[in-house]
């Protein structure tokens, strides 16, 4: 992406040679910043805290599952642990993970703009997210919540005597903050692209975040009103969803999954975008089938709104409704497979360089494929009946969300770390943590496929003795996985302070953020708005790493 000319009225360069991190050190300049790059860093700190918190709950219930008897924690407490794990990981880590951090940082730079269209709304998004986080912490101090992250009625509305109200308020507010981010992305991509940056010259990361924005905008309000109705039903003591009072609890499931199934695409689509950047860069190859990846992103976003009923095959939905949802769910595997194939063909014939981000990206392709294929098992209506609510579903979901999304998130964080922080992370430690995470992950969740296939239901704190071996493997894997995440985060934090300074383009990558922006970027990104003359990923195979 060459810069051929400065536009008229170019932005005056700053007097001081500073970057966005160093131009002002005051606390106020961080907490009330309107700079999309600083907001990305703020979000990164917030979601890391929640990621660790969610991980602690996972470790607690894995300890309980070491032994068949429910002996470490009583059933009530166990229910609270898996609920809090789910609520925190989904609403406070997975949904904001890539869009709010990498997306916030990169979307304006990649489209050649100085900021997102609405910087104040972007800042408001982070504040609303933190208000939501305070509600989530209030849930913890008021004794937790035990309905599962799905808040199914009538359990959540009539029977649970835990902090359901605070928990749905937290999810409501977190959803609102994601809507603000989504709208910002859509407007920025539509209206603020640099001259010459046509839709089909956009990096695929932008397509992914654009599609994510659309899903957020159309899906999140529906869950917002659904959670609002749950809160009203609890506070007012009337029956909206409780069948005993004339309500319809299946209606709740429809309204909940109308958002919460598309929400998994909110979580995974930005991850696809990250992988689409890293694979061509470290294959030194143009991406295979650019338009197919771009349109598969959009078709996943659209199809994702028509598959929610596959969560309700055994909830009393009619047989024919189930068949339609089953068919549509199978259908969504097609665009996903298109992506996997295209990434693989990009690797083919490329000059593959195994850096840490590439290692995560390759791991992503393998794990996500397993997660996707097992999704087809569950989409088959007949097979879903025995597998519904077993550990098979848990393993499938974690293969797509941890094996997929978390791997993509860490791939992206490592890839753009030199750009965001201006420091190189230690390569050996990065790879070491990646391999630990990969090993621990497989050891945790592979046995869960088997134990789920054997019939172990999810959300129980006790189980028959013959499943102990598999559960011990899973808990051992979770410990390794937890260690891997800590090693990875520690390595990144260490490098932020003591790492080697990064060059402008350490990976020899293509893209405005590498070719035009300094590391870390200037507070206003560009001294003059670039003019784009090439398509994305115009790798020639001759790019070199530029690392000391």
């Amino acid at each position: 992406m060459a810069v051929i000319a400065d536009r008229e009225g170019a932005y005056a360069p700053p007097v001081r040679e500073e970057n966005y991190l160093t131009w002002d050190h005051s606390i106020k300049s961080w907490l009330f910043t309107q700079d999309h790059k600083r907001i990305a860093i703020l979000y990164l700190i917030s979601i890391t805290v929640f990621f660790l918190l969610g991980g602690i709950f996972a470790m607690l219930f894995r300890i309980e599952l070491l032994t068949p008897a429910g002996d470490v924690f009583e059933a009530d407490r166990y229910n609270k642990f898996f609920t809090l794990h789910g609520v925190i990981m989904i609403f406070f880590f997975l949904i904001p993970s890539v869009p709010a951090t990498l997306g916030n940082f990169l979307v304006p730079i990649m489209v050649g703009a100085r900021d997102l269209a609405f910087p104040k709304i972007n800042l408001a998004s982070w504040w609303v997210f933190n208000v939501a986080g305070v509600f989530a912490l209030l849930v913890l101090v008021t004794g937790g919540v035990d309905t599962g992250w799905t808040f199914y009625s009538p359990l959540s509305t009539s029977y649970a005597n835990t902090s359901v109200f605070l928990a749905v308020t937290a999810a409501f507010a977190a959803g609102f903050s994601s809507i603000l981010t989504g709208i910002n992305f859509i407007v920025t991509v539509h209206k603020m692209r640099a001259p010459g940056l046509t839709w089909f010259r956009l990096p695929l990361f932008i397509w992914a975040n654009y599609a994510t924005g659309v899903v957020i905008m159309l899906g999140t309000p529906v869950v917002a009103i659904t959670l609002f109705l749950i809160a009203v039903e609890r506070l007012w003591g009337v029956g909206i969803f409780d069948p005993a009072l004339g309500g319809d609890s299946v209606l709740f499931q429809h309204m909940f999954w109308f958002y919460s199934h598309p929400a998994v695409y909110i979580m995974i689509l930005p991850g696809f975008g990250v992988i689409s950047e890293i694979i061509p860069c470290f294959s030194r190859n143009r991406i295979f089938g650019y338009p197919f990846i771009a349109f598969s992103t959009l078709s996943i976003a659209i199809l994702g709104f028509f598959v929610w009923g596959h969560h309700m095959f055994v909830s009393g939905q009619s047989f024919y409704t189930g068949m339609v949802f089953s068919f549509l769910t199978m259908f969504i595997a097609a665009p996903t497979a298109v992506k996997i194939m295209n990434w693989t063909f990009t690797l083919h014939g490329g000059n593959v360089i195994m850096t840490t981000p590439m290692l995560y990206a390759i791991g992503f392709i393998g794990l996500f494929t397993i997660g996707g294929v097992t999704g087809l098992f569950l989409a088959a209506m007949g097979l879903d009946v025995p597998l519904h609510d077993t550990y098979f579903v848990v393993a499938h979901f974690h293969f797509t969300m941890v094996g997929g999304m978390a791997m993509a998130f860490f791939a992206g964080i490592h890839f753009w770390w030199p750009k965001m922080i201006g420091k190189m992370y230690p390569e050996f430690m990065g790879k070491f943590a990646c391999i630990i995470i990969f090993t621990g992950f497989n050891l945790t969740f592979m046995p869960q496929f088997i134990v789920g296939w054997l019939g172990m239901p999810r959300r129980y704190h006790a189980y028959p003795e013959e499943w102990q071996v598999l559960n011990v493997m899973s808990t051992a894997g979770a410990s390794i996985l937890g260690f891997g995440f800590l090693a990875c985060i520690a390595c990144l934090i260490w490098s932020a302070f003591w790492g080697k300074p990064a060059k402008q383009n350490p990976w020899g990558a293509k893209g405005l953020e590498w070719e035009v922006c300094t590391s870390p970027p200037h507070p206003h990104n560009f001294t003059s708005i670039p003019v784009v003359t090439e398509e994305a990923y115009s790798y020639t195979g001759e790019e070199v790493l530029d690392i000391d």
Binding site: V187, M217, P221, G247
Partner: protein, 220 residues
């Protein structure tokens, strides 16, 4: 550029935009997207309404008959007139007519307030008739339907839907009050009318929600 009596003398472009039209287009697209998510938000309520109406048609008919159609119609007219004055406000801001702008925007606020006051009286009437679901539920004349308790569901949906609409009106009036102060300080004018136009988008949207709510709860 001719001198203007209100608002900035020249268009102000925030640092991250290149041109004024780009700035305006971003605002308009952003507002449309916000309204799209609002439609999905109310859409959830409309879906629940439709499902329960389908399940309990008798209860719905009996519940709807308890509402005061004359007041509902009057309130609809009040709200539609407020939309007209809102549209005029945008025009007066663009064409630099200070007095007319203040007058028409004030009228918009007054009509909005009238709507809410009437709505409050309607709610109170429901209370005196024992039509508040939950602990106060005690209709004086239980209608002759299979299961009178299902009529509660109608009133739950009635209060949540009109309540959510009224909540949007309250938010609108708060924003309008802030804008009124800025307007009197002559902050808006031909070179800065976007805030007025954005508020107009929101106000019209809230009116349109009512245009759908009114027949759904009062008429059919």
């Amino acid at each position: 550029m001719t001198s203007v009596t209100m608002g900035p003398a020249e268009p102000v472009i925030p640092h991250h935009f290149e041109t004024k039209p780009q700035h305006n287009e971003c605002n308009i697209l952003g507002m449309w997207l916000f309204l799209a998510q609002e439609i999905m938000f109310f859409g959830g309520l409309f879906t629940a309404y439709a499902v329960y109406r389908f399940k309990y048609p008798d209860a719905w008919e009996a519940g709807s008959a308890e509402l005061n159609r004359a007041i509902g119609t009057g309130n609809t007219i009040v709200l539609l007139v407020s939309s007209l004055t809102m549209a005029l406000s945008v025009y007066f801001a663009q064409t630099d007519q200070f007095k007319k702008l203040v007058a028409s925007f004030s009228l918009t606020m007054v009509f909005g307030a009238i709507f809410l006051i009437v709505k409050a009286f309607e709610y109170h009437e429901k209370y005196t008739h024992g039509l508040i679901p939950g602990a106060w539920w005690d209709p004086i004349h239980p209608p002759e339907i299979d299961d009178p308790s299902k009529m509660q569901l109608f009133f739950i949906m009635y209060f949540i839907m009109t309540g959510m609409h009224a909540f949007h009106m309250v938010i609108g009036l708060i924003i309008a009050a802030v804008m009124m102060i800025m307007m009197l300080k002559r902050k808006f004018g031909p070179n800065k009318y976007m805030p007025v136009e954005m508020f107009g988008f929101y106000w019209h949207f809230v009116d349109i929600v009512w245009v759908f709510l009114f027949p759904m709860v009062y008429l059919i």
